[in-house]
């Protein structure tokens, strides 16, 4: 068991049942610290359900989620964020009416120690925290290349930058594990290229463990070290990119067998 406790993120036998439909069942996941792990599968395979279970949006019908050995199953999303799991969303969910900088600042809010009273009366501790957060937020924006648009409304950004902003916002919570839900969706090849570089960069710079959902095969195969393939809520394969690419079941799930293939 000591080995399990060393892993960054562990899912044990997760089952998520919606009425009569098991969106995910018998789902196991072992991600070592510092890994860049992929979760792939055709549409409707249950990938986002897995993300929602890990990030606390859904409470699994069965199974456990462990973060560095600690059981975090069934905690509320904000508690899980505080424990060190941050995520992005498949359909971008930015705070549209806030500026780019404010979006990142919200990510810092969970580490605030100054109370509401201190904030209202502008006590030294609050002011110190606020200026620290401002500085780290600006640094984060520089890291993802959004420093020039820091005072734009988030909704005014082009699509690719919105994706980057979501990642920056997630990083602001200082996570240990980052979940990226289709970060390259809707991006053109050049943007995808930049994004892959960004993901590799932030993993090294922030000592992150990253779990990535992706449809874009190029992204997963290029940057993920290992991956799990889901189909109809079941794991059908697990391994390195080259193993997955030659796996019969995966090829069948993506290209044939009645499932509509993407691209």
């Amino acid at each position: 068991m000591s080995k399990i406790n060393d892993l960054a993120l562990v899912c044990e036998n997760i089952r998520m049942q919606f009425g009569g439909l098991a969106a995910v069942s018998n789902f196991d996941l072992l991600i070592p610290e510092g890994a860049l792990y992929g979760l792939i599968g055709p549409n409707g395979a249950g990938k986002t359900t897995v993300f929602n279970v890990i990030s606390g949006v859904l409470n699994p019908t069965e199974g456990r989620v462990r973060l560095f050995g600690t059981d975090v199953t069934g905690l509320s999303p904000d508690e899980i964020a505080r424990r060190g799991i941050a995520r992005t969303f498949q359909n971008i969910r930015l705070f549209r009416n806030l500026t780019v900088l404010e979006n990142v600042l919200v990510g810092h809010h969970l580490r605030r120690e100054a109370t509401l009273g201190e904030a209202l009366l502008a006590f030294p501790r609050y002011r110190r925290e606020e200026s620290d957060m401002l500085r780290t937020s600006q640094e984060l924006l520089e890291d993802v290349g959004l420093e020039d648009v820091a005072h734009y409304r988030a909704s005014a950004l082009p699509y690719g930058q919105q994706r980057r902003l979501e990642i920056a916002r997630a990083l602001a919570t200082k996570p240990r594990v980052l979940l990226l839900d289709e970060p390259a969706a809707g991006m053109n090849p050049a943007e995808t290229e930049q994004l892959m570089q960004l993901i590799l960069d932030v993993r090294d710079r922030f000592n992150l463990t990253i779990l990535l959902i992706e449809h874009e095969m190029k992204v997963v195969m290029n940057i993920c070290e290992r991956m799990t393939v889901l189909d109809h809520g079941q794991i059908i394969a697990e391994g390195t990119p080259s193993e997955i690419q030659s796996d019969e079941k995966v090829i069948k799930a993506y290209l044939g067998g009645g499932v509509i293939a993407r691209h």
């Binding site: 969303f89 009416n97 209202l120 925290e129 602001a172």
Partner: protein, 358 residues
């Protein structure tokens, strides 16, 4: 560098103090020089500014569509009234069912009574808000509206505390311009500090996307309750000031139209704008009085026109529709009118001159 900064601070504090003194001198001038009717309208404006800001905090900044303001105002108004009325007046007013002990024998000063009103309505706000904020949008609106009605019905029936439908009369007229405008000022400062703080950003994040806010570690329950309770407290203190201004209150004052009036002020000014609320609350309060002219019988071109009661509300609704047509997000949207907006305007001009962009 530090010397510069402290100099800057001293200068800012000096300006603020000077403005404050000028503000109160103005109030002194109005309070002593103007006629009672105008002073009354200005009092009402200030009270509505505070209450509208409270509603705006909950509905505009935090995006929690609450319609319970009238209920919280009732709680505040009754608390203040019962604490400030003299035992003799209470004995005279409660002639059917006597007031319960200890309320029948106490008389507090206005300030502690107002603070108590804020506290009590804050507690009621929490009791109402904590279960209700699980709902969203219109469902939350309906739930809070129901709670406000429940408060009113309870007040109609607890005759030994509220004197039931007879209401309270002879409330000491403590509210003057100093009280009401200090309240408005405190509300404005509170809102400015709160909405620009990290907590305010979290509220706006909840408004924009609840799911994402929670995923970023924002505790939804805490922050929604925060908005709800502060909003209720502001409404409670405002209600207390209102009761001691008009000196007589009864449960029917706090029906839904009162909530609607405040909501209209907030929407007209722009949900999410402090200056918008201030402008709209003042404008609507003044307009309500100015339009009374329409309801008086008068002779135009030799034709006698009888006054039509309610005519001003018709005109008012038309004006409201026209405004919403041209300013769908209210006068200010979610922007603020301040020094910064002038600076931004200047910066925008400069940008357009330097290079063609945006």
């Amino acid at each position: 560098m530090t010397g510069n900064r402290s100099n800057n601070f001293v200068r800012k504090a000096g300006i603020a103090l000077a403005l404050l003194i000028a503000f109160y001198l103005c109030l002194f001038w109005v309070q002593t020089g103007w006629d009672v009717y105008k002073v009354r309208i200005l009092n009402l404006s200030a009270i509505y500014i505070g209450i509208t800001l409270g509603l705006n905090l909950c509905n505009g900044f935090a995006g929690q569509f609450s319609l319970g303001i009238a209920g919280f105002m009732a709680v505040g108004a009754y608390t203040t009234a019962l604490l400030t009325m003299s035992p003799q007046t209470k004995a005279a007013v409660f002639f059917i069912d006597p007031l319960i002990w200890p309320l029948n024998s106490i008389q507090w000063g206005f300030l502690p009574a107002l603070l108590m009103a804020g506290l009590v309505s804050g507690l009621v706000g929490f009791a109402v808000g904590a279960p209700a904020i699980r709902f969203r949008d219109d469902y939350l609106g309906i739930t809070t509206l129901g709670f406000a009605e429940i408060i009113r019905v309870v007040f109609t029936n607890t005759r030994t505390i509220t004197n039931g439908a007879l209401g309270l009369k002879g409330i000491p007229p403590h509210t003057d311009l100093y009280w009401s405008w200090t309240f408005a000022l405190v509300c404005v400062l509170l809102m400015v500090r709160l909405t620009n703080s990290s907590y305010g950003r979290a509220l706006k994040a909840i408004r924009d996307d609840e799911v994402a806010a929670e995923a970023m570690g924002v505790n939804l329950f805490y922050h929604k309750c925060l908005a709800f309770v502060i909003s209720a407290m502001m409404a409670g203190v405002g209600g207390g000031l209102l009761g001691n201004l008009i000196t007589t209150i009864d449960p029917n004052m706090f029906r839904f139209p009162l909530t609607f009036t405040v909501l209209m002020m907030a929407v007209l000014g722009g949900l999410g704008s402090i200056t918008g609320s201030v402008i709209a609350a003042t404008l609507v309060t003044v307009a309500m009085e100015v339009l009374r002219v329409l309801e008086e019988p008068r002779v135009i071109l030799g034709i006698f026109l009888p006054g039509i009661p309610g005519m001003r509300m018709v005109v008012f609704s038309i004006a409201l529709m026209v405004v919403i047509l041209f300013y769908p997000k209210g006068f200010m949207g979610d922007r603020e009118l301040g020094l910064d907006s002038f600076r931004n305007l200047a910066a925008r001009f400069r940008r357009t001159f330097l290079r063609k962009q945006v």
